[in-house]
């Protein structure tokens, strides 16, 4: 029984982190129709910046905030300098459809290699800001610690904040408008380029949060060639696809669902099956329900 409850806790916590990454991918997809494979690199860079701030100020919370600001800055820079140039130069031709994919992938490699060049490939470690020892209830230790509580609340808070931003504010309206139809939004006076950059910036912040929260909740080790960040990207992508790649709530639900499924596989089957399960889940969703579990726009082909 306790094992079952603990598995649910583990699933929800890791799911919350996948959700943050999925939110980042969804935001960029909605604003520019690009799946940003560089998101893992941007998150990694932001986490390193966060690590530097921890060394300087000895406060995880301040560092988390500053890392998110840095992540937003990186996102905005990547969009306004890199992606805009790309879209201007590669609008036509046989490669136009795949150029953004290739370019963001190149960026991922570039960020990783430059980071490795700058700080070396040895691990640094980020210690958890609050205890990662599980709560105890009547003699049983739960797999749910203050740190995990923080992670889950951070994800929930971000999701609520973003939902309000998208549905209740003018900025949100213009974000949705430019995603829906850039041409018409432009005619209606929305500065589409700026709004897109804003989407990238929010995504950068969400990705930074994912990186900063994932690192201490795992082993605490951080390195430029970290497999954890590749997996974060892949699981975030799978979570986003489960949610339909369009909706923020879908991204969160997808993240939690994926986290739970993987946690149950990990506990009751085998650790080395985790990845295959995620991959099979992705394929099944794509084949059976490509519009995602939320599935608003049925007409779209995957």
């Amino acid at each position: 029984m306790y094992q079952f409850i603990n598995t649910i806790f583990i699933g929800i916590t890791s799911g919350a982190i996948y959700s943050l990454m999925a939110i980042a991918l969804v935001l960029v997809w909605r604003s520019t129709r690009v799946v940003n494979f560089a998101q893992a690199g941007m998150a990694l860079l932001s986490t390193y910046i966060g690590y530097e701030f921890i060394q300087r100020f000895h406060s995880f919370w301040l560092a988390l905030f500053l890392a998110m600001v840095a992540g937003a800055g990186i996102g905005a820079l990547v969009d306004s300098i890199f992606m805009r140039t790309l879209f201007r130069r590669v609008a036509h031709g046989p490669i136009a459809g795949v150029a953004p994919i290739i370019a963001t992938l190149g960026l991922l490699g570039l960020i990783r290699a430059s980071l490795g060049l700058a700080v070396g490939n040895s691990d640094v470690s980020i210690r958890p800001p609050v205890s990662n020892v599980g709560y105890t209830i009547s003699g049983h230790t739960l797999a749910f610690s203050p740190l995990k509580l923080v992670i889950v609340s951070a994800a929930v808070f971000l999701m609520i904040a973003l939902s309000i931003l998208f549905s209740k504010t003018n900025i949100g309206l213009s974000l949705r408008a430019s995603a829906f139809s850039p041409e018409i939004a432009r005619l209606a006076g929305v500065r589409v380029d700026r709004v897109r950059t804003l989407g990238w910036a929010i995504a950068g912040a969400a990705g930074a949060a994912a990186g900063m929260l994932q690192t201490p909740s795992g082993t605490g080790a951080l390195s430029p060639d970290s497999l954890d960040f590749s997996l974060l990207l892949v699981f975030g992508f799978i979570a986003a696809v489960i949610g339909g790649l369009e909706s923020l709530i879908g991204a969160v639900l997808g993240g939690v669902l994926l986290g739970l499924v993987l946690a149950f596989v990990l506990t009751y089957m085998s650790g080395s099956l985790v990845f295959i399960t995620a991959f099979v889940l992705l394929i099944i969703v794509l084949l059976v329900r490509p519009q995602g579990i939320i599935g608003m726009n049925r007409g779209r082909r995957a």
């Binding site: 997809w29 690009v34 799946v35 494979f37 140039t85 790309l86 130069r89 590669v90 031709g93 046989p94 490669i95 136009a96 459809g97 795949v98 150029a99 994919i101 290739i102 370019a103 992938l105 190149g106 960026l107 991922l108 490699g109 570039l110 990783r112 290699a113 430059s114 490795g116 060049l117 700058a118 700080v119 070396g120 490939n121 430029p224 497999l227 590749s230 997996l231 990207l233 892949v234 992508f237 799978i238 696809v241 085998s270 080395s272 099956l273 985790v274 990845f275 295959i276 995620a278 991959f279 992705l282 394929i283 794509l286 084949l287 490509p290 082909r301 995957a302």
Partner: protein
């Protein structure tokens, strides 16, 4: 310039001549270059598989490293457990990878760009973990892949590397010749039609899904062959031989080659072979710190990928050709 009419025969003769030239070249250069020649041939095959998929069929795969791994493992297992001749091992590699590709391709045919890219990326990230799951795959250490010493009839000074080079180069030539032919056939035209406009292709009676799946299957088979050749040159297969960066490098090579034409493939392959050497030279000048030596090759490859996509998205060759065509058009207008 009058264009030489390209027929099946002239193309075949071209590849035979190329083979003869390579044969003499292989006898004249030193061991390191011979070994690099084998690696070059491997890259030619691998990049060709990506060009076929991306340039001709309009699908993008970030996971061809994983398909190469499937081919490499298939060849190694056949060799180790059944002891079959090397050619049959290569054929098994092609078949197994093509089978995996057809499964993936069936899903892929229904996916557009970013979904397919993400799915194949997931495969490339996750496939190595499978090696630890089954004992037949040998875990982290992987498996040995020994193609055997060159036949004694080749002479005493015929080295192992030269033997690798011969096998790899011959394989690459056969693959390129075959791909040239298939791309000029009905299938090649179908793929290009689908890439150009799916709806139009469908109206013209082409089964879009089948056509895409076939392209993915063929491309996977070729990638699997490249994986077997790679496994031969390093005599092992292990998860670390097929890292995520391999898939990225191949994509860089394909973009450099110009994804829409098979003829540039050698440019991409040469660049990928030269990059570690250049990186090595630079890092030695910078004092060979560990940071530099491990990260510089990756940095160069990614930077190159970005520069090419931004500046010459259709590849340097295609860019030159279109510039020349424009100039010619201007000249006739005057």
């Amino acid at each position: 310039m009058h264009k030489l009419k390209s027929t099946n025969l002239t193309r075949f003769l071209f590849f035979v001549l190329l083979g003869v030239a390579l044969f003499f070249l292989g006898n004249r250069v030193d061991e390191l270059r011979v070994y690099q020649g084998a690696t070059l041939s491997m890259y030619v095959i691998a990049i060709a598989s990506i060009i076929l998929l991306t340039g001709y069929s309009g699908q993008v795969s970030l996971g061809h490293g994983a398909l190469m791994a499937i081919g490499g493992y298939a060849a190694a297992i056949t060799r180790e457990h059944l002891g079959w001749p090397i050619w049959i091992c290569f054929a098994v590699a092609v078949l197994v990878a093509a089978l995996a590709g057809s499964v993936l391709g069936t899903a892929a045919a229904r996916l557009s760009g970013p979904y397919l890219a993400g799915t194949t990326l997931a495969l490339a990230v996750g496939l190595p973990s499978i090696a630890n799951q089954f004992s037949i795959l040998g875990g982290e250490q992987g498996l040995l892949f020994d193609v055997g010493a060159p036949p004694a009839s080749m002479g005493a000074d015929f080295t192992q590397y030269k033997w690798y080079f011969w096998i790899a180069a011959l394989t690459a030539l056969i693959v390129m010749w075959w791909l040239q032919n298939i791309l000029r056939s009905r299938y090649g035209r179908t793929w290009r039609a689908v890439r150009g406009n799916e709806v139009a292709a469908e109206l013209a009676g082409i089964h879009v899904g089948k056509s895409k799946t076939l392209a993915f299957t063929v491309s996977s088979g070729v990638a699997g062959l490249a994986g077997a050749v790679l496994a031969m040159t390093i005599s092992t297969v292990s998860p670390s031989a097929f890292p995520l960066s391999l898939s990225f490098s191949l994509l860089t090579g394909a973009v450099l080659a110009g994804v829409s034409t098979l003829s540039g493939v050698i440019i991409g392959a040469l660049t990928l072979v030269a990059t570690p050497e250049i990186a090595d030279a630079i890092s030695r000048r910078l004092g060979s710190s560990e940071n530099v030596t491990t990260n510089l090759p990756g940095l160069l490859v990614s930077a190159l990928l970005i520069i090419v996509v931004l500046l010459v998205p259709n590849g340097p060759l295609e860019q030159l050709r279109s510039a020349r065509a424009r100039k010619a058009r201007e000249a006739t207008h005057q």
